[in-house]
């Protein structure tokens, strides 16, 4: 690399309406931190003629994470903002872990959570984690506001369901059900050949019943495999209704790998990758289940007691 960027026009609107107007007039691309955009402009993978910065747009810095009201992260919030938040760590652990494991760590100070999700890069981590948490993108656009579930957000490699000019205002995740845990893990650089993907990432969310001895709801997501992170319903079905234990987690992981297609024609590469995926999924589900089981928040009990007293 080392190549300079090609010149482009640049705008700094102050309001969402102004940003959409400029995007329409100049066919501009939105930019937040630029961590995806700048390297791809430099590599000439993109040649945008006009960038519209969202950095000074008002009203995109929502940041609220609470067990009762869910997670709400505005377009301007960078990934490292989640790290010191106790509820992000306890209640939205999958996303918190994905932000914590961004590598290099500097990226967390520069790249926005929403920008990471909007990049639609198949090997990014936050989409995998946010999909396991049932995230939804709140969008405003020339034709009004709408909500897109992350499941429907990724249409193809590098391509989202956003229409031209639409801005994601924030990411929203529903509050957890009681006795729920989530987890995210990745194996970084399992790359062996140029055809091989760099890494594998997985996220899971598990909900237990009131006695905490049976799984009543589950999400199992694998990323960096194919063009987008995917939920694996067969694995989820294998988990639901059963007692959480090691054999069950192994079976669920196998249900995922049974659906995967090899990415190369090199047998030993695929053997390694499939084995890694199995272990990663097994451990991710196991950790989510153990968090669901051990969950205890004195604060939440206290607020529930207060509500009962009222």
């Amino acid at each position: 690399m080392g190549r300079v960027l090609l010149p482009f026009a640049y705008h700094e609107p102050k309001t969402v309406a102004e940003a959409m107007e400029l995007a329409k007039r100049d066919a501009g691309t939105y930019i937040m931190g630029g961590c995806t955009l700048v390297p791809s402009l430099r590599r000439r993978q993109r040649r945008d003629k006009c960038l519209i910065s969202l950095a000074r747009v008002e009203g995109l810095d929502d940041f609220g994470i609470h067990p009762k009201s869910g997670l709400r992260i505005g377009a301007k919030v960078v990934a490292s903002a989640l790290l010191p938040n106790i509820w992000a760590g306890k209640r939205f652990a999958a996303l918190h872990e994905a932000c914590e494991q961004l590598y290099p760590p500097h990226i967390g100070n520069m790249g926005s959570v929403v920008g990471n999700l909007c990049s639609a890069v198949p090997y990014f981590d936050l989409p995998t984690a946010a999909l396991a948490l049932d995230g939804e993108m709140h969008v405003t656009g020339p034709d009004g506001d709408r909500v897109i579930a992350l499941e429907e957000f990724y249409v193809a490699k590098f391509q989202t369901a956003l229409k031209p000019g639409e801005i994601v205002t924030h990411l929203f995740c529903q509050p957890y059900k009681p006795d729920t845990g989530s987890s995210f893990k990745k194996i970084y650089r399992s790359r062996r050949t140029i055809e091989d993907l760099h890494k594998i990432n997985a996220a899971a969310m598990v909900t237990l019943d009131e006695e905490r001895d049976r799984i009543i709801d589950a999400r199992v997501v694998l990323g960096s495999w194919g063009h987008r992170p995917n939920r694996y319903r067969a694995a989820e079905a294998a988990l639901i209704g059963n007692a959480p234990n090691f054999d069950l987690f192994v079976a669920a992981a196998e249900a995922v790998t049974a659906e995967l297609l090899p990415a190369t024609d090199m047998d030993w590469v695929e053997k390694t990758r499939f084995a890694q995926a199995r272990v990663l999924l097994r451990d991710t589900i196991a950790q989510a289940a153990s968090r669901a089981k051990s969950r205890h928040d004195p604060f939440e009990d206290a607020t529930e007691m207060l509500e009962d007293a009222r």
Binding site: M1, G2, R3, V4, L5, L6, P7, F8, A9, Y10, E12, I31, G33, G34, C35, V38, P39, L41, R42, L51, S53, A55, R56, S80, Y103, P104, P105, H106, I107, N109, M110
Partner: protein, 161 residues
Amino acid sequence: MKMLATFNVNGRDYDTVIEPHMTLADVLRDKLRLTGTKRACTAGNCGACTVLADEDPICSCITLAVLARDKRIETVEGLAAPGGALSPLQDAFVKNNAAQCGFCTAGMLMTAQAQLRDNPRPTREEVKQSISGNICRCTGYVKIVDAIMQAAEEIQAAEGA
């Protein structure tokens, strides 16, 4: 599309003419002549271009300069005292031979500076974690971690005294 921009670097305001496609590293080095910050991978992977923006380490090689105008930028030139006396962190790097070719050093120092502000008594593990985005191909990192640990101790001792 030339524009006049003001950057706050090491506590001083600099007015300069930039273009929107310039990165912060370009502006620091080529416009403000603060050449301590290095350009290496230009992809955000190696950490040689690390500067602090509002006290957080960022990669100046993939940050557009226009996006850094609202931030307080700190570069390696701002570490030493105005008279030229080295900061405790720089001094510890010298004493521990924590640099060989020196290309990563400016970035290492800035990342370490941010960490010691946030966490004045880091463990070795925490130091390794925080400099994990700064790549050094010469030292093997041991002396760099030693230097940061020693600087942490010296800063603590000086504050206690």
